[in-house]
Amino acid sequence: MSRRVIPGFPLTVGYTLFYLSALVLLPLAALALKAGQMSAAEFWRVITDPVVTSSLRLTFAVSTAAALVNAIFGLIVAWVLVRYDFPFRRLFDAIIDFPFALPTAVAGLTFANLFLKDGWLGGLGGHIAAGINALTEKLGLGALLPADALNWLSFPYTGETAGIVIVLIFVGLPFVVRTVQPVLLEWDPEYETAARSLGADPATIFRRVIFPAILPAWVSGVALSLARSVGEYGSVIFIAANIPGKSQIAPLQIVTRLDDFQYAQAAAIGVVLLAISLLILLAINGLESFSRRHERAA
């Protein structure tokens, strides 16, 4: 029996259970019930429809890719923000929360315009080549570069899978940074000093001393970022081509069914989306606790 720090144990537990049930379990039950309106065969037919399975594959592929990128770069960002002092550090720190505050549709639209064929990034190579040519023509050298010479510098990602991943990286970035940051802030540098005095090199210190401490926070940050991406709709539909069976994400399949008044079908896809997400989150948590036990054993 754990020690009761907060008085009124039955009251607080009762309140917590009621709160979670009303806010989370009730809507979930309603969703499952809606999906339960159809027969098992019908349910199976809906969720094995090639267009639906391809949308589920795409959703989890792009979400995983975005979560992995955020796992690495979010960690680096958190590390740099905590461990180094540099000009405008606090400003950059504040910018991290920007994706939380910005309506995702606005983010999607902005990225879609950036990555258009003649957008700032989508046509970057062309813009630079045009700039260089304008300069050399002014100097009387004529146009030095063919217009498409620098096209390898362009990122025409609007309508491409890469575009979806970039939007999801943006949307999920704060999760990893904001979960790892407080742990790094609390971190006592004396552990590092101790490790160094015992002869550990920097790589070993990070791997054996620092990393195990931030691992739980880091893993939950990555899991949150992944879960956020799986459900993301607003930003993705602006940058994706949305072709059925090719570039439609699962949430769009749900909306499509709703617009066709197929409530039960929409709920069925929602249930599958939720079930897969839950499995992945459980697997991530399992992996994390396994590695912690493994770390302690070693």
């Binding site: 309508g159 059925p244 069976g245 909306v255 069914r257 008044f261």
Partner: protein
């Protein structure tokens, strides 16, 4: 504890509010739930109707407006949005509300012309000077042509686009709707139509499938989204959309950027209007709601309709705006496809023809 005195004051305020609301019962608010591109149209109509209603009855009426994708709007009404009237992109969405028990059967006979106070059609928007020389439906099949349209599963306008493509390739019989005689001829043809051979035209099916599979790079969820993709994001060579939406895009982005091209024939789109019986009976707004929809058929409303690039039913108003609403031969969904329920189940329902297009390519 609230002191006794202030409790009395509260009671007095409550009583006053009650009396106030009773005295101003003639202050009416209607909610019109409509599809995406009609913002400007129903804003203008609502104001003109309020003036007329005040003059006739002495009552004040304000019509609130909600716009969105036609299917989504119908879903909102089914889910409990208290719409007094719906003005949607296609009959199927009104039928869905009828099936939910909110609108009485037979709504299409409650107002003239199948309860559609105006019509529209599907045409092309191309880049200035028409660099790809797109003149008719068959040009869309050329390998170098990219076509922008919304997804028929989520956009009412895109369903009309799909039917226009199909009917044009299947050589649907057309009529001249700019004359009373032509309209009568169409009515007779609808009565005589049977079997609807367009559905079984394999060549047509192949062509429509080819356009969606090979020529459409982006499928937006709504008509307005498709316009933005074409006009602002500069994707594609031709936009297929509502005629009124094409004019709006041309006015919005500048006539120096785009040309509107009319194909040799297209579809007569009939966006329907209906009173939501259950809501108006509950709220006691039936009289005003019916007057509001009837008002759409008056010469003054028909003129506003023509001005905003919808095709008035009134032949005089239609001819007044014939420069911007050119006469083209049009076919009807009733004569070519046997009406919405049949077209919806065959083409757009789950597992229908449109779904099959995308399964073949996977």
């Amino acid at each position: 504890m609230i002191p006794v005195v202030s409790r009395r004051i509260f009671a007095a305020i409550g009583l006053a509010a009650l009396l106030g609301s009773a005295a101003s019962a003639a202050d009416l608010r209607l909610l019109n739930v409509s599809y995406d591109p009609t913002r400007e149209l129903y804003a203008a109509i609502g104001q003109a109707f309020a003036v007329k209603w005040k003059a006739e009855t002495g009552d004040t009426v304000k019509v609130d407006l909600s716009n969105g994708g036609s299917g989504k709007q119908a879903r909102s009404v089914i889910d409990g949005l208290n719409a007094d009237v719906v003005t949607l992109a296609l009959g199927w969405d009104v039928t869905a509300i009828e099936k939910a028990g909110l609108i009485n059967p037979g709504w299409q006979g409650k107002f003239p012309n199948n309860a559609s106070p105006y019509t529209s059609t599907i045409a092309f928007l191309v880049r200035k000077g028409n660099p790809k020389g797109i003149k008719d439906w068959s040009d869309l099949l050329r390998p170098d042509v990219q076509v922008i349209t919304a997804n028929p599963k989520t956009s009412g306008g895109a369903r009309w686009v799909f039917l226009a493509l199909w009917g044009a390739f299947a050589n649907a019989g057309t009529h001249d709707f700019s004359t009373v005689a032509g309209q009568a001829e169409a009515k007779t043809a609808i009565g005589a139509a049977k079997d609807f051979p367009a559905y079984n035209d394999a060549a047509t099916r192949g062509k429509v499938a080819e356009i969606f599979n090979k020529h459409v790079p982006v499928l937006d969820t709504g008509a307005r989204g498709a316009t933005v993709t074409f006009a602002q994001k500069q994707i594609g060579d031709v936009l297929l959309n509502w005629e009124n939406e094409l004019w709006l895009a041309r006015d919005e982005f500048g006539p120096e950027k785009f040309d509107i091209v009319y194909p040799k024939k297209s579809i007569l789109a009939e966006p329907p209007v209906a009173v939501v019986d259950k809501v108006v009976d509950q709220r006691g707004t039936r009289k005003a709601a019916e007057a509001y929809l009837s008002y759409l058929y008056t010469p003054e409303a028909q003129d506003v309709i023509g001005q905003l690039h919808y095709r008035p039913r009134d032949v005089a108003a239609l001819n007044k705006y014939s420069a911007e609403l050119p006469k083209i031969p049009l076919f009807t969904i009733d004569e070519t496809f046997g009406g919405w329920p049949k077209a919806q189940t065959t083409f757009f329902a789950d597992g229908g023809v449109f779904d099959q297009f995308y399964k073949q390519t996977n």
